[in-house]
Amino acid sequence: MSRRRIGLALAAASFAWGCATSLAHAADISFWTWRQEDKAAYNALFADFTKANPDIHVKFESFPDENYPTIVSTALAGGKGGDVIHTHAYGWLEQFVKAGYFEPLDMATVPSLANQPADALVSGTYRADKKVYSLPFASQTLGLFINKDVFAKAGLTPPTTWDEFITVSKALKEKGIYPLANGMGTSWFNEMFVAIFTNPFLGQDFVSDLTSGKTTFKDPRYVAALGKLLELRPYMPDGFEGIDYETAGQLFLSGKAAMLAGGSFDIATYRSQNPAINMDFVAPPMAKAGDTPQATKFFDGGYAVNSKSANKEAALKLVNWMGTKEFGDKFSALLGNISPIKGVVIKDELLSHVAKLNETAMPHINVVYFRFEKPTGSELLQGDITKMMSGSITPDQLAADLTDGLAKWYKPFQGK
């Protein structure tokens, strides 16, 4: 009897071992991200992937945005971390690539790279070896949210030029409505705020001159564009210096403010917070009538493969799938983000309008060109812009601080 029991136990153990072995052959990979709010959408996308690749299961793991760089770098330094890592772009990515934490992606392992436009690929490319390490996932557009109902109620038309913006703002203020919801209480957004309102005054020529070393931020065009920001102060909420970006969003959504300088990344959030909102997203005011509307564009990040992943093949397969039109279509539909993948169909009217703005958009200068070494343009600008808006430094001083700080590592600015 006891022998029979032992025999049964052995048979059960062998069965369990067999199951475990076969399960081990199926790859369980993890996807690390800071986008906690996108869990449901990504799980739906990963379910599609597993349907097409039944032997690969993807686990979504998210971490707080503010601590994400610390968590990822510590994990990768210890040879751990997700198999596929959601990365930010440009300089953020480069520090991880330099340390050898990510696998280079090429046409052999990730053929869907061919679906990406050139400017998107730049955001995931390491400047030193020109290899792509992160497959771009979304472009972000910065512009102006318009509360159409507030404008209709006030009997006003949303502005397209700077002069119109000032005239309309005065009229809104007289009616007791905050013309512009933004304040200066959120450092990271302050930098976006600067890009939104200065880019239409700078134009593509300024960017070319800046990146080719012909000029610096001390250029009168940049100083004058910064000066324009000071004209916005009377049309921002009372105590705007202490109003953070979240409050600005609430002022806009509740109809207390008519316009909000913001990013396309918030369209989905605002719709979920106030499904009844009747809003538009337009290019910020042009310098003068007849100019090309110029929103600001940058690529937010991408998907990279952990070079220490035990399931590199499966991870590469997932990243390749994340570069397909099938993924891009569903990604844009579920998350309200604009996938850079060529041929992606954006059905949402507002999003498709944003995609149209991207065709003439300017790059987010600091994010795209000046976040590669310390001190970054972002550190310098974020530190100074609140001082400029409160009047304790002038646009000239900000421009000089930015140029001199960047000159530490950006050779074209040295000695200028």
Binding site: A77, G183, K374, E379, S390
Partner: protein
Amino acid sequence: MTEGWRHTAKPFAWRRSLWIAALLTPALLVMVLFVLWPLLSAFRFAFYEFNGLRPSGFIGLENFRKVLFEKPYSDWTWNAFKHNVIAFLALMLFENGTAFLIAFALLKALPGHRIHQVIVFLPVVLSAVIVGFLWKLFLHPLFGLVNQLLGLVGIGAVPWLGNENTALGSILFANIWHWLGFPTLVLLAGMQRISKDVLEAARLDGAGDYALMTKIVWPLIAPSVTIVTILTFIGSFNWFEIPYVMAGLTGSPGGSTDVLGLYFYRTAFGSTTTGIQDFGQGSALAVLMFVFVAGITAIALRYLRRREIEQ
């Protein structure tokens, strides 16, 4: 007799040492692993350049030179240091000064003193994150309680945390509100240790409240003052949580609330929105902070202990 003692004492002493060692080893291991090792690592990293997230070469004192003498890093270091000094002085004066007065009032055991003791100590049990968040809401320019109350007397929206002149003071106020109960309790404990005979003798000699407070109580609570001063000093120079919650990693607006803890964190670990990580410079800052805090604490302890003896 002596022989016998030797025979039994030696193994006993040996066993006792072994027992003590066994008790100390786990704590020692934890200290070595989680305190000493990271400290030594930080010391080592401070002398290396980081290319990306890995050390790429020994550069001697270059990281120290940068954070102390090269602009804009040096400006940021001294700016943060200045705010730590202001925090220390403000906490000594307003937090510990008020704590001393409250402790003295509580010592008099007036009716309701127990409930006051609990109320004063209550915020201490809250997490710094909750306190920071709470005060951020209270100080909100449009919806905050403080501005709503000021609005009743006709004062418009004040951007407490958005104005360079009021931001640090607002954060210090929140910090004082949070921690006031701790020095109060320590000082009260010190006052309660003073012999009642001494206090009564002073009273009989005609000492009023002020004379009692300055001539009797203050000198006799010197050990408690030492503890409170040293802890305030260490706390001021390691200040992080409340500034982080109320002013963000960049010490906004315009670095007016930046402190060494924030500056170290964003230098070493970066931030998604400002850029890249530099463990070398971050470690140099950490080493400087450690040396400064440990050095001044040691000197201050020597001075304050001597003062205790003199008193």
